[in-house]
Each structure stands twice: as C-alpha cells, then as structure tokens.
Symmetry: C2
Subunit: 658 residues, 2 copies
C-alpha cells in the first residue's frame, strides 16, 4: 500500500513518466532490456544487498568476490555477453557492488598497450578467469604526476629479464583495486632502465600470487591498505617489489620494445594514451556519478513529500516539507542538474564516438578538444554531483544521516569520484590550458575546435532581458553564460600576459593565475552544459508533456547557476542589478512550478526498491515502518558484553525500585 | 625524526607559536592545565583509540562504555571534578569517544525542569551512576516541531499515575543517545492529557530497563536504531511505550504540576527553556565544530608540505603541494575561518555569560538577541566548518579518503552538527525573523538590541577603496559586509510587505521569502564574525608577531568571503567591478603571505598525535611510513574465507606457471 502522501503526488503528473524513462534510456527497447537485466539480477538471492549496511569490510569483500564469481555463471546462464546489449546494465543493477573491476582494466591495458602476441597469450586466460588481474600505477608518493613514479625495472641482458624494485617507501604501489587480497597478476608501471639509462615509464605484467595456493610470489610483499570512506567491497592494495624478475616478453610492447640486446625501440603513436584516459573519464560519469545523484534525488524527493513538519498555514495539519520554499530550493536544482548532466553525458558520448572513428582512420585532430572537454566535465560533474548528494542527505535531516537511508553510502562513494581518475583541480587546469591556447589562437584569427569557436566572438553588449519572463528564454541565458566564459578566459589570458611581460617567469605566472584559470574552465563547462540542455530540449518530442517539463528543468538549471553565482554575471555590467532581481524572481517561480512534478520526475529514473536500498526512498513511501524493521535487524541489537563487563558492576548495589 | 620538508616550515615562523596557543586557550595557565589533562588521559591505555578505524559499531560501543566507566575512576584518582578547571578539557582529550553523554543531558533536564524534591531524589542517584539516564524527545516522525510530538501521557486520578503510550509508529521515540542499549531511565516528552483535555508537551521520568538484570520494563520496547554515518560509539535508540504507568511524582514539575485531583497548575516562566537550547547551541560550537576543523586543518596543512607532486619550476624537484596557488586557496581560508570562529565563540560565550547573569536577576531582555545569535551562528558555523573539513579531506587526494588519515571520520561527525540541536535552515529562519522584526522596529525609530543597531543606519554610499591595499583595511571590508547585511534584510522586508499588501496571506508571503531570508540571516552572521575578528585583532598584544599574523588571517577571512560571494557586494554598485578586481588581487597576495606561516598556525592548535589519530597529520610528518604500518594492522589483512570458497575453485585448473 502506497503512502497516500506519496500516492497523491503521482496523480497530477504533467507528463508521461514512462516516456521520460524511455528518453533517459535512449528508447523504449533499451528500457525493456534494462528491466529484464534488473529483474534477473534482483530475483537471484546471490546478489542480495539486504544486510549491506550492517556488514564489516571483510564481509563486504567476501560478498563482492562471491558475486563476481556468481556473475560469470549468471551471464552464461542468461546468454549475456560483454558485447551484448545487456552488459551495460549489469553494473547498475548490482550497484557496482562486485569484485574484479580492475581485472577489466588489466585486460583493457593489455589490449591497448600489448603486442598481438601478448594479447593472444593473456586475454584468453583473463577472459576465462584463469588469473585475476589488477593495475598497479599509483604509488604511495605519486598519483597525478606519472613521470614521478619511482618503481624501477632494470633490464638484465644476461638473463633476458627485467628486475623490478621498489627503491623506497614512497615508491610502494598503493590503491590498486583487487590487488590487496585477490589478484594473481598485475600490470606494474615502472621506470625502465637499460644499461644504466632511464627510458621513462613503461608497463610490465607481473605475477604476484601463486596460482596453486595464492601465496605471495618470491620478492613480493602485498596486502590491503585498510579501511576507506567507502569501497569496503574493494581490496585496494599495496605492493612492494624486491628483485622480482620477469621475462623480457612481459613488458607491454605495442608502442615500445626492448630487443634482446637491450636496444630500445619506440614505435607507433603515444597520443592514443590520451584517448584511454578520456575513455575512462567519459565512462565513469554515468555509472559512478549520475546514477548516485539520481538515486539521492529519488530518496530525498520521495521522503520530502512523506515527511510532514511544522505548519505552513495556521490551523492546518503539518505540511509536507517539500512545500517549503527552502526545501524546494535545496532539492529541485539538484534534480535539474541530474537531467542537465545526463544530456551532457549523451553529448560527450557522441563526441567520443566520433573521435574514436577518426582515430581509427589515424586522424588525431579531435584529441585535444576531447581531452579538454572530458577532463573539464569529469571535474565539474563529479564536483557538482557530490555537492548535490550531500545536499540531498542533509535535506533529509536526521533520517538522512542513518545509513539505512542509503544516502551516506551514496555520498561517501561519489566523493571518491572527485579524486580518482585525475584530481579535479589538475583536470580543470588542463581544460584551462586548452582554453587559453585556443583563445590566443582565435584572437590571432587561427581556426579552433568547434566547442571553443565562441571565444573568438568577444562581444561587449549587455543582456537584453526586460522582464522576468525574458529569463525563461534559452537565448538570453545561454548568451549570458557564454559572455561570462569569454570574460573569464580573456581576462585571465590578459593577466597571464601582463605578468610575463612584467618579467615574471612563465611557470610562476601560470601558478599565480591558477585560481582564476580554474574559474574560467568551470565557466566554459557550465556554458556548454546550459547550451547543450537548451539544444536538447528544442529537439524533444512535444507530445506527452515531455518537452515542457524538460524546458522547465533547463530553465531551472540555468537560472540556479546564475542565482548561485551572481557576481560572475554582474561583474562587468553585462547583467544589471535589476535584471538579477528578475532572475531571482523567475528562479523562485520555477521552484513552485517544478515542485508539482517532483515525484514523477524522480519516478522516471526508474530505480527499484532493491536497487535504491533505502528505508526513506522506497516506491511506496512507507518510511517509518521500514526504518523500524531494518533497525531491528542491526547487529547492534544483539546482546553486548558491555553490560556484564561494565554496566552491571556500575549499577550494582542500586535500589531495585526507584 | 621530523620529515625535513615539515621541519623547515617551522624554522621561519613569523610569530611565537607557544604564545598563540596560550591566546587560543585563554592564557598560559589554561594551556598548562589542558596539557596535564591530555597527558593523564593519553598515558592511560584504557583510553586508547589506537585501532579505532578498524572497529565495528559493536566494538566502538563497548569501548565507549568501558571508557565512560573508567573515566569515573580516573577523575576520582586525579581529583578532577565536574566543576573543576580540568573538566572542560577531558572531552577534547578523549575526542568525544565516550558513552553516557546523554546521561548528562538527563541530569541537566532534571536540574532545570524538576522541582526541588525531584532534584533531591534523582540527581544524587544519577551523579553516583546508580542509574543511567537518557533524554527521549525526538520521534520517528517529529524533530524540530516539538508541538507535533505524538507520545501521550494520560493522567489516571484513580491510581495517581500517568499512563504513557506510543499511539502510532511515527510517535516512536527515535535517536536518543545512550538509550538503545545502556540507559535504565529516560526523560520522555509527551502530550499531557487530564480528563480528556490536552495540555501540551511535558517531560516525564520513565524507567525503561531493570536495575537488577537490565531487562526491558513491562510495556517497553526499546533497541538500537542501527548504523549511522558516524557516532558508532553511541547507542542511539528507539523506544515504544505501551500502557507504561509511572507515578504522578515523575512529571518534572518546576514549571507545571498536576495535582492529585487532576488540577493543572502552571507556574514560573517558560522563557527559561529558550535559554536551555541556547546553552546547548553555544556549547557545541567549540567541542563539536571548531575542534574538528582545527584537526582537519592540521592534518591537511602538514600533509601539504610533505606531499610533493609535479613540478612548479622546470628542472627542479617536485614541489610541495602547498606551494600551488590552488592548494593555498583550498586550505588557507579554512584555517582563517577556524580562527575567525574561535573568536566568535569567545564573543558568544561572553554574551551568554552576561545573559545568564541577567536571567539570574529575573531580567529576560537579552533572550531574543541571544537566541537569534546562537541560532544563526550555530547554523553558519556548523555549515561553514563542515564544508571546510570536506575541502581539507579532498585537498589530501586519495590519502585523505583513507580512514587512516582521520579526515573521513572528522567529516562524517561534523556533518551531524548541521542537523542536530536545530536543523540549520530552521535556525537561520529564526534569526531572520528576529532581523526583520528589529529592522521594522529600527525603521520606526524604536530601540533594538546592540547587535542589530546597524540595521537602523541604512547608508547608500559607495565603497571608498581606491587600490588593492585599501582592502586590507578592516574599516573598508567591515563596512562592505555591513552594507550587504542591511541591503539583504531591508530588501527582503520590502518584498514581504509588498506581498502582504498585494493580498498574499502572511504565512504564504513568509514562505515565498524564505530563500532570501536565509541569505539575510547568513549575511548578518558573516558581518558580525568579520567585525568581531577585526575588533579582536585590534586588542591583541603586538608582541611576538601575534597581532600581525592574526591581522593577516582576519583580512583573509574577510576577503575570502567577498571573493566567494562577489554578487552580494556588486549587486547595488556598492562595490565596483574595478574594486572587486582589487579584492581578488589582495586576496591572492594574502595567500602567498600566510602560506609561509601555515604550519606554525596549525601547530598552535596544539593537538597531540594521539589526539589527531591521523597517519597524515602527525607532528613528525612521517606520512608514508605511518600509512604502511597502520594498514598492515587492518583486519582486511587477515586470511579471508573468500579464497577457499570462491577464488580457489575459480582459479582451479589454471596453468601453474604462465
């Protein structure tokens, strides 16, 4: 039975929820396939996450390994393959709670960096899980700056082997997933030395555990790095190498090879490596960032129409908290952002596919733009969505703070996305470097990639809006975002040049501009996101109310961005104070409009209760019953030795009746 | 041996660290007492937190109970009393990791709300721990809005008892600390009914567990609410009452009494209840908010001079990450905020003490101002500091995400402070209500409390700054903050009046202004914080470089606030775009200046390594060794059944040598 406070919200949807779900999935057929996968996974008790919030790190790890092994069987049973249409839905259906994800990275790195011979040897073994792979790049003292890695691989011509070593503690491999307890093999990135000369970082396949009894191989020290803020199911590990010898054939050699006599040969292009990173950054957005945000919105919005607190009108019953303007202002912009970034993800995927086709034709022209956009959006989206999940959590008050709400684990997991696969500040500075370069080129009349042509067209106009309704025009707000992006890029480019001309060294000048460069890169991404949302809405079907509600969300996303960052728009007078008051008025009006469709908008994300795993967010809205039922199962309701040991002696000798 | 990258930072301090520590403590004698307490606690293995990051919720609870019991013994041994000068340092020395904190609230509520007879009966029992108390106010369905509580207490004249009931699931008590597993008694807040008439919420002492064997009393269902984002050591509980009978004498009756015949008598003032909440909000700022932020700053700053990554200058070794402008921009404003809010806390304490003296003389005039300031600052400080701890965590990259860094637990704990003791948005709206009221009064020429007299003096001038150095003048920036606070309050008051005059009902109009009311309340608190910091700096001793470095931090705190919220200052042209560029320039200059003293500034917080409990933040900066040593002790490095159960069968039949 659905809580009537939630049920009533579904009666008045202004659009067809099922059609919006299909739009998000990329078509009704995709929705059908996704639901079939979810159904198959969720009906299998081996994949249950029922007591997840009560489990220790060890229990979570064991469950993840069990699921990974069972998944192989399940895929075989269901006829799912890695290239089939079902595959991409498995991870979402499992909520990522499965082991051996790094095994896939191990395989990908061999496919991309290995010779044909290496691929022929290792990929079948890995595919059949006759070994478990990992990927050992990051070290205790080195993350972002790969050239700084300290692990060494010295070629020994006498034995035709590489000798791998961890020369000091900061060189210890640290963080690789699946490596702490599971992996038998890993790809180690190390500085290659031949005849005393360093040739830089190269990848080597190293066996770390016995295939017979799983004991550590000679010269290997490895283990688990211990508890983290989330990812309890992953055995992130450490690895220390002491004179570990591997055959010459184990250096991945598609691009670089060491010949038996020690001759070093580099062949092919290294630009493709850029593309690998781009792939990872683009692919993580949907699974690791948007899905958690959509879940958080679903939980917080449903809870906010079930939870009643205080009175909005004297004499009436307590109000649904979503009827308070402040609660709308917390949640609805996050909902709009989830949709906005979903469409940015579509845009990036399309750009990526186009780039991939070009690369296959040996045309690398798109790489700098792809790198800049994927880096910038990885940073902007992870940062925005992390903050958004935190807002959802806090908007649920005390119950949001209970693990049983599901929100704390969504938050602690999405937070990691700001850090892994490129720290966000570093990524934004890479985007900024691209922007500055393109701005200089465009200013000099040279051609620049499509996403940055707007930098050439510096206009000094004013925002033409005359009343608050004008700010519901995509042209008006898109132009405003563009203006800000151009201003921040051009003013920072000017500061950079001024500093250099005044005698400051180039690298010092760059460092002195980095706070502003980060702002410029964010403004660029924000502009593209708004523009892309507006263009997407324009192309949507007008039927079933879809375009209309998406237009509202697009407006809200754009106006929330202006409302939250008014200074950027006011600075040079492009937007006047009076216009800013119009933005505020339109923005607050929109909250009340979208509030009516809030529940249908999260229903469209189509999460099952099992997948949400939240006592607050279930489809039926029976929040309090579920919290009570779940709490009773907590191990903290078992008998504690604390009573016999500490409380009984303390309370001893008390009056039996007070 | 201190890591030389950290050691060198201490050689060049511009001020005397020991003197700054004494300033923070409130005098050298306080520093001495604090250190003696820390020494006594930390040298006692019973209080060890060594393996805390590896413990389950059950283990954490047991340890907290053990420590609470041992603390009684320790206090006796050391001659510490609840009224002695040492007492306030115990909680900090234990990092709050101790049980029975609600026992103190139980005692306080009896002292404040109980009759002399009740105090005489219960306080000695509680003091001697012959019972364990809790405080049962919040319900599953009711938090902030106390009038909405649903638990009932019906007076039965026949038996001279109250009959307590939980009429439905949303009325179940939920969250009370110490209640899930430990408490024998609790103060239950319930709607009082006499002869069928409801008299509103009243407090009742209820025994919930046997003093003989700790079993639940008849009619009581109680247990632990399960896992939370932090506070694993606390047994937050639930409580369901079914026809639980308690004697008439158990209703706390300092202000309200039920006579044997059922006559209800109210006596004394209820305003004092306001003051109780004020007490809690003021007292939590130091222990629960500032200390965690100071710890997070200590960890992140020390790590940022030990961690080297990428090159700042070509050809040199990798740079300390604190030398990057972006890293300074992340951490140094948080450090400045820690100092700013420390001084706000001093200000609130002083105001509070003054108010307390007045109340003892039956003068309640200061209550509204005290309530508004303590509510507003509780919200602003908890929100600001929570965001600041998250920034510190993320600024440490991957290692910040490890529980061993100490940062995740600081974050997940401080986050709760935004929710408990009054949800922040509600509190800010209470402050806003006070502001609007005072603004109207001031506009009508009526007298208003000292902290808001500035609202009367609406000036329409412009910021007089002519160059970037002018923005290092406290008069200039304090005036700018004041201008913004006045503008936001007055414009929202005007909007509110316009709406009401246009026929919108008062409560609807209020709701439609709440987003802007929250902004006004924040601006008010921010202004007071800046003004108070500037005034504090003025009064400091000029010796030993203290005043100079505090002036830098005050400037940074003020300019960071402007830089992060430029729109508020640009909006009506009070600050021009050219002046905003000066703010940016001065702000970025300050980062480079304060960076030089960053380590001494965190050293002054004077946390011991045991108290920080961080692999990244120790005094000696031996980060990598400590991470490795600690990780090896993790239970995730014990043998896992996953190998025998899942991995071995999977890897079976593989080639023994690849």
């Amino acid at each position: 039975s659905v809580n009537p406070d939630l049920g009533s919200e579904r009666q008045t949807a202004s659009f067809c929820v099922e059609r919006l779900t299909a739009l998000l999935d990329g078509g009704a057929e995709q929705t059908r396939i996704r639901r079939a996968v979810v159904e198959a996974i969720e009906s299998d008790p081996e994949f249950s996450r029922e007591n997840q919030y009560f489990q220790t790190q060890n229990e979570r790890y064991e469950a993840a390994v069990r699921k990974a092994v069972h998944l192989q069987k399940k895929m075989h049973e269901m006829g799912w393959t890695e290239n089939g249409p079902e595959y991409k839905y498995i991870y979402r259906a499992l909520s990522g709670d499965v082991a051996f994800l790094l095994h896939r990275v191990f395989m990908r790195s061999i496919s991309v960096l290995g010779s044909d011979k290496q691929i022929a040897k290792w990929i079948p073994l890995a595919t059949q899980h006759k070994l478990i792979g990992s990927y050992a790049q990051t070290e205790l003292g080195h993350g972002t700056y790969l050239q700084g890695l300290e692990t060494t691989a010295v070629f020994d011509t006498a034995t035709q082997e590489f000798i791998l070593n961890t020369p000091k503690i900061s060189a210890m491999k640290w963080w690789p997933g699946d490596m702490g307890r599971s992996a038998t093999h890993t790809v180690v990135f190390a500085q290659l030395y031949i005849h005393g000369k360093c040739y830089g970082i190269h990848p080597f396949i190293v066996q770390i555990r016995s295939l017979q009894d799983h004991s550590l191989c000679p010269g290997i020290t490895a283990g688990d790095i211990g508890p983290k803020m989330n990812f309890e199911h992953v055995d992130n590990g450490y690895l220390l190498l002491k004179n570990v010898r591997i055959p010459r054939e184990n250096m991945l050699s598609k691009f670089c090879e060491v010949r038996p006599d020690g001759t070093y040969v580099r062949q092919g292009s290294q630009q493709i490596n850029y593309f690998t990173m781009t792939t990872v950054r683009v692919s993580l957005i949907a699974d690791e960032v948007l899905t958690p945000l959509m879940k958080a919105c679903t939980i917080a919005v449903r809870y906010s129409v079930v939870r009643r607190q205080s009175k909005l009108k004297p004499g009436e019953q307590e109000a649904k908290i979503l009827d308070y303007q402040t609660q709308q202002e917390k949640l609805l912009p996050q909902l709009a952002a989830a949709y906005a970034f979903h469409f940015v993800n579509d845009y990036l995927q399309e750009l990526f596919n186009k780039g991939y086709r070009e690369i296959q034709r040996k045309n690398f022209d798109m790489l700098p733009e792809l790198h800049a956009l994927s880096s910038g959006f990885k940073a902007v989206i992870t940062q925005h969505c992390t903050a958004a999940v935190e807002i959802c959590l806090r908007a649920c008050g005390g119950h949001g703070y209970s693990l049983l709400s599901g929100l704390p684990s969504l938050y602690t997991k999405i937070l990691a996305s700001c850090i892994y696969e490129g720290e966000n500040t570093i990524l934004l500075l890479q985007t900024a470097r691209f922007l500055i370069k393109c701005f200089m080129a465009a200013s000099a009349g040279q051609p620049v990639p499509p996403s940055v042509t707007y930098l050439a067209a510096v206009k000094h106009g004013k925002c033409p809006a005359k009343n608050k309704l004008d700010f519901l025009s995509p042209d008006i707000y898109t132009e405003a975002y563009q203006h800000v992006a151009v201003r921040l890029t051009s003013s920072t480019a000017a500061k950079l040049q001024d500093l250099i001309q005044s005698g400051v060294k180039k690298h010092d000048a760059w460092n002195q501009c980095t706070v502003q460069l980060v702002q410029a890169a964010k403004a660029h991404c924000h502009y593209i996101a708004v523009k892309n949302f507006a263009e997407t809405v324009e192309k949507l079907e007008t039927k079933a109310g879809i375009q209309k509600i998406m237009k509202h969300l697009c407006d809200l996303f754009a106006l929330h961005g202006i409302f939250s960052n008014t200074g950027a728009f006011l600075h040079d007078g492009y937007t006047s104070a009076a216009q800013m008051d119009m933005v505020t008025a339109s923005y607050l009006d929109l909250l009340a409009v979208i509030r009516k469709d809030a529940v249908p908008l999260v229903d469209a994300f189509d999460f099952t209760d099992q997948n949400l795993n939240s006592a607050l967010g279930s489809y039926d809205g029976q929040v309090y019953q579920r919290l009570y039922e779940w709490a009773q199962k907590s191990p903290t309701n078992q008998m504690s030795p604390a009573y016999e040991r500490y409380l009984k002696p303390l309370l001893h000798n008390t009056l039996s009746k007070l």
